[in-house]
Amino acid sequence: VSIRLQLLIVALTTLVLPWAGCQYAKELETALRSSQEQSLLANAATIANALSAQPQRVFHDADDTQAFSASAGDLYVYPLVTQPLLDGYRQDWDVPAEPTPLPTTTGYRARLQAGSTEGFLYLFIEVADSHFDAEPNNVQPDTDRFDRVNLALDGPNGREAYFFGTDAPGLIAAQSVVKGEDGVDRAVAEPRIQAFWLQTAAGYHLEARIPLSFVGRHLWVEALDGRGKGKAGFAADSAAGGRLFFATAGLDSLLETFIGDGTRATVIDANALKLGTAGTVVSKKRGETEESEPIWYRYFLGVDTTDMPMLSMAPDHLSGESVSSALNGHPHAQWVLRGSHRDLLLTAAAPIVIDGQLHGAVVLQQAADQLLALRDRALSRLFNLTLIATAAAVIIMFAFATWLSLRIGRLRDAADSAVGSDGRIQLTMPESASADEIGALSRGFERLLARLNEHAQYLRTLGGKLSHELRTPLTIVRSSLDNLESEGLRDDQRRYITRAREGTQRLQSILSALGAAARVEESIKQSDRVNFDLRELLISALAAYRDGFPGTHFVLHTPEDPCFARGAPDLMVQLLDKLIENAVDFCPPDGTVTVRLERVQANYCLQIANDGPLIAEALMGRLFESLFEQRQGDDDKPHFGLGLYIVRLIAEFHGGTAVASNRDDGSGVVFTILLPLI
């Protein structure tokens, strides 16, 4: 794993920062929420207390604790915001709920809805009736058959019955049956109760307006078919039911006094029916900024909302855990979601208890606190900033790591190539001027290389020094032998002298070989360059080698014309000597040494090739180094790894190069010297 990757991984740990921020935000949110819950619950309890002190302003009939039952004909009267137009349409009521079906035993279908505003009770009755049966003139209400809607009210004067019927659709008045002086029932219009009869494809709509002064606690509605037995609803003489549940007048404005901006208060009765409501959940101040809130950060920051219930939107009653808990007498707060945006909404409900009797509940609804919103914004900004900071840190770290590994890579490359293929040592390293550890490492390398260089230098000169220093003692030995020999020795003594002399000669040749490179270097320094014919030199030298190495077969290929080169022919012969000696050493008996001279582009290409063992690839580049010797010497000639080094020195003196290679067919090796043409 590269340093770059390691540092990158380390840099990624800075992601802990935004994560820790998230955790902190979550904790903060939980705390803020819980405090909002507490405060809203306390609010609800306060309002509930205040309301329980004045039940007459809250409950229509505070004593009535009987449960609401739609099947028994109980009817919730929706508070209407504006006075509807009497036109047979319900659209202007602005009540989101559908009318309630009236019970029927005959399959005659009718639906009823009630609303109230500004001193009137409005009724909307929708009847499915395929045929319109008009009310006859001079109707006999008890006997005539026509499409009618009966209405019974508990008025101030006791129970009163009315009916609606018409000969033509349109604006009509309710009629009541009055027994005339002649004892005949007559229909008398009651103009204060007006209605609009609208004929539709499916039947008819009846929208009626009744002054509240006519209305008591109970109301019954029944729709009758004019031609059959069809009827639906509750007859006026039903014993029970037909109770009206009004939203309490004036309760809305009373509630307004309790609540602040961004809170909605709803009072419900024990049946969870709405008695009054005030305020809106969305604060006007907040509404402006809410749109710019990013949603995505909730994925990182927000509490888990997946399990939260949706807010129930029923228009006439409230439901939910907190409502049912409050109606069981326990205050309760709960977070719910509202609308398609799934905004968080806090619901807190507190029971209204009067004289130990539960009458209803106050339900407060509030959007997540403005503090929370502020927190959201601050934290999402913090989150963004730490993300940016982390990204920047990662990028900077990556760049730094890249730079670092580049520097180290440079140092490594320099270290790899510090000892060149020619054995020369590159003494300066990159980065050594830097003050940091890499610079120190580089300087350490430089010191190491300097010592290595000193050592190599010492080795290079050791041969020359040795051959020089040993010459005097060797001379002493030899001159002593000379003297001894002339003393007139016996033959057996002479034998030892001869041996000693052979020994000194060998020593002499060893010293000579050791000093060879130094002498060549010196003679290179003093050589003059002349033009000479390389071809002629080769021809005459090869003749000498054929005499000198009778066991080896020599083949020479040269161009036909003279090949003039510039340099020192004596040195060139020495180069040849070394290469031929080398070739002959490795050439098997009866093998062939081939010398070839060609012109290749701007060079002479001189190749000395011999049959024999190949050179290992790994050694190829080092063969021409000073003191490089790989041969397992089985001859008695000393080898110091200087022969090919001398070849290189001489080739370079002539502006050329020396390269060793194996023959393609593996039959031997080729030494190639490239020399520039004149």
């Binding site: 002493i476 001159s479 000379d482 002339s486 003679s523 003093q526 005459s540 003749a543 022919p569």
Partner: protein, 233 residues
């Protein structure tokens, strides 16, 4: 028969063992030997009496070039005195410097004692020859070259070419049989010296240069690559 006065040879060599060996060997050949370990002692003695021949090492005790100074001083005292450098230093530069200072020969310590004695004898012979009238029989002529084997003198087109003893013997060996290739071993034998190939090469080079100083067109010594050298007329 009158015993001729022994020729006196001065050996200046700081290595006692070598000094004694040389002295013993040369004494055996009938020379009187004076051996000195440093330049100061040698010079003191020379100021009193000049030897007939001096063998000098280049580095003398603490003087790395003491032999050169000594040679210069000796030459100042006598122009004829034969001087041989015998040294462990075999660099071309030392040889050139030594010969330029007027030494008659420059030998490395590889030389054997018999070879050394032969040279000493040759130098004395030359001194004697120079004192005798000319003996034309000993003169070899090869075109422009003329060699006096006795006096060890060489001329080219009549102009003298000053050669050291080794150089003279090399030229002599080559010119005696023009056209014959003399390999290095033959030349060494002729010069009574054991030298490595490079030293022969530089001797030849030096000889050519000396002739070229007299005649820039000199080209009589030809290299036969890989074999040796030959004299061409």
């Amino acid at each position: 028969m009158i015993q001729p006065m022994k020729k006196q040879i001065a050996i200046v060599e700081d290595e006692p063992a070598l000094r004694e060996n040389y002295a013993a060997a040369l004494a055996r050949h009938g020379y009187s030997i004076k051996a000195y370990g440093n330049r100061r002692m040698a010079m003191q003695a020379f100021n009193t009496r000049l030897p007939d021949l001096a063998i000098i090492d280049i580095s003398l005790e603490d003087e790395a070039e003491g032999g050169f100074d000594l040679c210069r001083d000796l030459r100042a005292l006598s122009a004829e005195l034969p001087i041989i450098f015998l040294t462990a230093r075999d660099s071309e530069l030392d040889a050139v410097s030594g010969l330029r200072l007027g030494a008659d020969d420059f030998l490395t310590k590889d030389v054997s004692l018999p070879h050394l004695a032969a040279r000493v004898a040759a130098l004395f012979r030359r001194i004697d020859a120079l004192r005798r009238p000319d003996n034309a029989a000993e003169i070899v002529r090869r075109g422009a070259l003329s060699i006096d084997g006795e006096k060890m003198q060489t001329t080219w087109n009549g102009a003298p070419v000053t050669l050291s003893l080794t150089e003279f013997w090399i030229v002599h060996a080559l010119a005696k049989n023009p056209g014959h290739v003399k390999n290095r071993q033959q030349l060494m034998d002729a010069a009574n010296v054991v030298l490595d190939d490079n030293t022969i090469t530089s001797h030849i080079k030096r000889v050519r240069r000396k002739f070229q100083q007299v005649d820039a067109a000199f080209d009589a010594i030809q290299t036969v690559y890989g074999m040796g050298y030959r004299w061409v007329e």
